[in-house]
Symmetry: C2
Subunit: 183 residues, 2 copies
Amino acid sequence: MARSRQAAQPAAREPTTNQQKGTRMSSDAPAVQDFYPDDVAHCYGCGRLNESGLRLRTRWEGEETVSRLTPAPYHTAIPGAVYGGLVASLLDCHGTGSAAAAVLRAEGREIGDGESPRFVTAALHVDFLKPTPLGPELEVRGRITEIKGRKVVVEETLSADGVVTARGHVVAVRIADVPAATP
Amino acid sequence: MARSRQAAQPAAREPTTNQQKGTRMSSDAPAVQDFYPDDVAHCYGCGRLNESGLRLRTRWEGEETVSRLTPAPYHTAIPGAVYGGLVASLLDCHGTGSAAAAVLRAEGREIGDGESPRFVTAALHVDFLKPTPLGPELEVRGRITEIKGRKVVVEETLSADGVVTARGHVVAVRIADVPAATP
């Protein structure tokens, strides 16, 4: 397993390169996914090394975690709406990213202070409250409601133009082969 | 809204054309999505008219609905596993497709006997039981547990090589602008 922090940094400095065609993100600040170990950084939803993927990136804003992404025109469901699978994907990867950020914070670390711990999803629940409009940037916000052993629980909202269109609940579990801290 | 059955049939005869690069499906039998009205047939997950999408297709096998898809190599999570967003997407679109199939059957109709009713997802729950291996064809199977008014509930499994790796629960709601029957 490659654990050098140096290997992760180039992606952090160039967050919008190689992203899935047609999608856009809005910030260059370091994200928790920028510091996943290289060998667990290929997730289609949030891996910085997956050149075909969405490359979702998650940061703290106060007590909440935030990810933002503008879907591509082909991410449609019924006309004018984002397809549910993308909504679920964003809530899923935002959940694992938020869990990683939560563990860093619980250990007194900032994002980028060593590698990020890596979580996978054990359970995902999505309530689709109304159609998510296709066009504007989507914002996923998370609140950590539990950290217990390897498990982190995240409550989420997904919104477009300030209107919450979906709610998510993620139970994330830390995978065993990523060290607790690699300062 | 275009409601001619003729418009839907070419896709049913050529199910593997224009599919998302790198994915494969295993059957040419008519699927419920082949008969969605044209203007609600662009879903990234299951719309036959979305040339960038997954084009999931759902059929009956006895009392169960079945969809199959082989992910592309880039649909990875951690190495060797399918990313959770794709698992969620397949369960989501299989749920709405199963709901449509269930209403057709409840009305005494076969898939292709008129247009398919169109559902959207109100709630999706996914339990990720174990990593879903990336490589083999995935099979999603559904059982209808409730049909009440516009709502249909579907319980699902997703498996690879005969091993169930995820369970899904979908509450689907019929959208209002698709007629109950268009023989």
